[in-house]
Symmetry: D2
Subunit: 249 residues, 4 copies
């Protein structure tokens, strides 16, 4: 049964989604007004009717819904790329992560869920970004993120870290600091849109005792499947960024 202050996802008959907290309020959509307080006591899967008689489905939101609904900064790493960090570093429940380039906190949220109850330390030098991210994570996170208004190029405070995750203009400047901060077997990861940053990062990586060094790109190809018409979609996201992983041995 849904209680006051629970978070719900409302889906209108056209598939448009609204993420909200259940309180005593009226919500306006272009398919009519909804009395949100009616949701209290209903169940996920039930429907609520607008004053124009349109049914909105009530479903339980998940972390990806949160990421897509979050207030966004430009150039946010998307979940399709972010999840490769799990596949390539094996971080999981209980791990400790240092992240730099907090941005709007999309990566932060995924890390927060993945390592919970482990901790995420998130560095950014941009106060405005950090404020937005903090708001996003306060709303949707697991209470295990500590934000730091600090320049990671100058050093990492934490030790014995399982993953250092970078989304920065000059990631090569963190390679040495990451080596100090990581536990044996921990990973440094960097996301960069351009190849020049990859080249600089890899050159710096080669100066330390990292192994399992790998640079990849995730290309997601989506298919259109219609009656007698199956084919890759005509328009495609051609590139998001290069992802480099290295493990401290």
């Amino acid at each position: 049964m849904i209680a006051e202050n629970d978070r719900v996802l409302l889906v209108d008959p056209r598939g448009k989604k609204y993420l909200m907290t259940v309180t005593n309020k009226i919500f306006h959509t272009n398919l009519g007004k909804l009395d949100i307080s009616e949701i209290i006591g209903m169940s996920y899967g039930d429907k609520i009717k607008s004053h124009m008689g349109k049914n909105f489905s009530i479903i339980k939101p998940n972390i990806i819904d949160y990421i897509y609904m979050m207030r966004k900064m430009p150039q946010t790493i998307n979940p399709d790329d972010a999840c490769q960090v799990i596949a390539n570093t094996g971080i999981s429940s209980g791990d400790t992560v240092v992240e730099a380039g907090t941005g709007s906190g999309a990566m932060t949220l995924l890390l927060s869920y993945t390592v919970f109850p482990g901790k995420v330390y998130s560095y950014d030098i941009n106060e405005r970004f950090l404020k937005v991210a903090k708001e996003n994570i306060d709303n949707y996170g697991k209470g295990n993120v500590e934000f730091k208004l600090k320049d990671i190029y100058e050093g990492i405070d934490e030790k014995d870290i399982d993953l250092v995750s970078l989304d920065l203009p000059e990631p090569h400047r963190v390679v040495g600091h990451a080596f100090e901060a990581l536990r044996a077997g921990g990973f440094v990861f960097s996301f960069s849109p351009c190849i020049e940053q990859v080249i600089d990062f890899r050159r710096e990586i080669s100066k330390y005792d990292y192994s399992e060094v790998k640079t990849i790109e995730t290309i997601i190809r989506e298919y259109e499947v219609k009656e007698r018409g199956t084919r890759p979609k005509t328009r495609m996201l051609g590139h998001t960024g290069f992802m480099t992983f290295a493990r401290k041995i």
Copy 2:
């Protein structure tokens, strides 16, 4: 400090890795014998010397190490694809998952870690596969997996499920059962190497009230980064499988 029965990953000077449980035994490698009992009381990051004087690094293994070391059946879904399930369905800690086509349990292990302390129900009709998977999960899992020697084409016992994950020859035969078993907002996911299965699955999906239906393929492009020589690798894994997602509204 490492204790008896802890699991460690030993990395030899050439980068070759050995996953093992710390007990009182002698382990033979082609770089010499190791007395594994010496590891008791050491720390991750320390090194142990073979009788040929070679140093082996001792590191803490992670879930991906486990997956690559697991005893494998053919056609196992790899972590690069498996993690897209997280990115596209948002499953996380506390969720309940039904899986069919257990195979060797690689997907099972990732699901087990992701939803812990939530539960995974894993169906297979092949007793031999189920035995291997059980062994693998007993070794590396989180104790939250229930294996079922049962044909999922005949129905799903569980209700209010967050994700039904399929790796089967005829996934379209589970679309209706999944619709019954899923909670509102839950997902069905199917992995298929061939496009014919996708077409059948999507045709069946269209008969139910699923939304957010999407078929994708993950293409991982790896780069070679050498001094004055950066380029995509010449040899590439061209295809693993198609992944289809649909959400019950």
Copy 3:
């Protein structure tokens, strides 16, 4: 020296291109009017000034300029795909080609240039398409194309053909006719946007004595190269069509 009735490509200072025949006329652009008769007696590489004082470069057009300037029907095969026919069938000067699904004649033009002075027979059942293609080929072709308002599903008139090139909704219905029409060592080629057509075509191909059967897709990845910013372009053409080749032995 450029003479009356020669064809020229004019390029304005912003890179916009105009293809035209040199005659006694005034041409209006949004960078001013051009007196085209002034071009007579000039050389390729010279510039002509508009009445607004803007310089337009005069260059010699090529076949690809023609294709991009041609009046187009929907779903025209593009040069990036069309050239794969040369790479996979080796057609060259002197060969004879049958084409069906003339469309707007883009493929026809490339075939015409490639086999000249060999001949191209182009079948279409759509009178309107054939008219447009004929106009295009009259303008830009090599005089070696014969258009036929005829349904190729009913048969191919020609014999001893080097290539049968198909861009049709049901290419599998031509597989047998093509086998009759081809010389030993000749190829049948089919372009299809959807995989269902490929599957039908390949099933039919397997009933005849074809070899070197191959289905490919050409993916063109374009790169952005800026100072300190090299990367694949964000937006990409995800799919054009599948191309199947088979050789009669």
Copy 4:
């Protein structure tokens, strides 16, 4: 009717191909000996029987057969990439081309066929490569290639060229020479396996009055089509090279 000294392609029952000139000789295969002189007077499409009773089909070879049978040097540009030069520069019959980095002559042969009766000037500084290429082109070409044992970094002798085609370690050193040699509307093209060469080349290109500058990569995806099993092939050629085109206006 096939005459002495004609070139034929013999295809054995397993699909293995042999390219040869028809003369009075015995040819040994692992399916038995063939008396090649028997072919004189036969037609393409006929079969010749080995002394072990196996039938070999006689077909007319094409330029792609020649390229695959040519004696090869490492790192030869393949026809799938080479044909993109036609699609992107529109070279055709009658054009004049300068090529550097002759290698084994695969690109040379395609250029020779495409521009015939136009001419190809092919520069290389490696006498051994030039000898192999000359042999290959003497065997299979159209008599319109002039080889030059000359360092193109020092300059291009020809003027009013339609295309300068480069397959060199330092293509940026030819950008200025190409600009001098090209006619208005002509193209310079460079093929490079690594991105660093592309970056240098593009930087140099930007110093001259080139337009339509484009860097692409051709990715060929091959499909397996079996009864109820259609899918991209598991193994794939991940990368050949980057291709950059620029047009002199």
